[in-house]
Symmetry: C2
Subunit: 247 residues, 2 copies
Amino acid sequence: MENLYDILALGFDPKRTHVFFDSKSIAALYPLAIRVARKVPYSTVKAVFGFEPSTNIGLVFYTALQTVPCFWPSWAEGRSVPCLIPCGIDQDPHFRVTRDIAEGLGYPKPALLHSQMIPGLLGEAAMSTSGDRPENALFLNDPPGAVERKIRNAFTGGRATVEEQRRLGATPEVCSVWALWRTRFAESEEKFQEVTAGCRSGTLLCGECKSQLLERVHSFYRHHAQAREKVKDWAESTIITAAPKAL
Amino acid sequence: MENLYDILALGFDPKRTHVFFDSKSIAALYPLAIRVARKVPYSTVKAVFGFEPSTNIGLVFYTALQTVPCFWPSWAEGRSVPCLIPCGIDQDPHFRVTRDIAEGLGYPKPALLHSQMIPGLLGEAAMSTSGDRPENALFLNDPPGAVERKIRNAFTGGRATVEEQRRLGATPEVCSVWALWRTRFAESEEKFQEVTAGCRSGTLLCGECKSQLLERVHSFYRHHAQAREKVKDWAESTIITAAPKAL
């Protein structure tokens, strides 16, 4: 539920939002999941996910469940409703399987949008918390002091000394702070180009760049915390708990 | 639901009967099924059931669901409640897997009672309807005429001629009608011994034996049809639809 509050607070419309929880929505998901499961042989998921004999049978079945939201709109409305799935590239294989079986079940193939990962603050490819490196990621419930500390310590594309950076410029493409500007914190394309040019030319030093970014991040956190409180009133009502009709 | 009516009509007490339907009870079963699934590697179900690469992932997962009723009483009551599973031998492998993982999940191992199969009326090992041989089985909704016809045509242990049977006796152990006497239609041990001795000695011929059996079968069907109507009022209320508590 905490994750759901964070997602809904980004601006979802209560009237047009429907949420599946694997646990809370299982009565709604299961009838369709078993129809999917019948179409997917073990050899397929083994090849797609590289399952080993030691893989547990819950994981083997999981793709069937993951598939259901793609077909749900068609099931619920009794007509062919196309479905767009925005997801990280790591979830893509599930939906490749889904696309293979969709037409056999009479549903349209889902289309996918691959979301870009935000690089980690320590210079890693993704802002993940795998392992025990909380400093690699901003959490939406981090207090302002932690946000400030993490960004101040974040890996950048800067040079070893101020003098060198003034003379040679820095490298935005490798910088975790620049990635944040790009992701959502530059309020306009102009601002983003100004930051990028300042970085590359050496006129905008990393400390000043981080200060400007922090203003925007703090503002986002304040807005998000307020929005998050408001969605708690209706978040539960978005969760689907029953199948659309008897099969 | 039709199967449930037939089962409940055999004499279950509404107050002490709880029924799981994989479909209707999935919200109740699933939280425990995924805990089970995590403990069962694919290699185990492959070895136990002889799964092939072409086996669908629903079947691979199914043992996890089949296991849940064994642990349900303990889960619901929050203490260790032993569980006895009466089942056909064909369901035994699921519960072998269950026994292997029970203690790792903190539940007692289920005990099993293997029910004996009723032989088929055509002389097959089980009164099953595999294939298209409806004459091999009595159905609980067969009209009296069909019951009579099937039993009159049933395979027996009798001889080729009456004369021969009077002289040599018949063989109850191979007879599908004798199996019905044994299963439930002899009202006493004495009656069963009388039928068996009459058969073996040649004094009770197959036609007369079938007539005596048919009286009892018709009586059972009449009683069953009445009992079946009565359980319809409360059958639905026995179905478990929610987990005993939030996990």
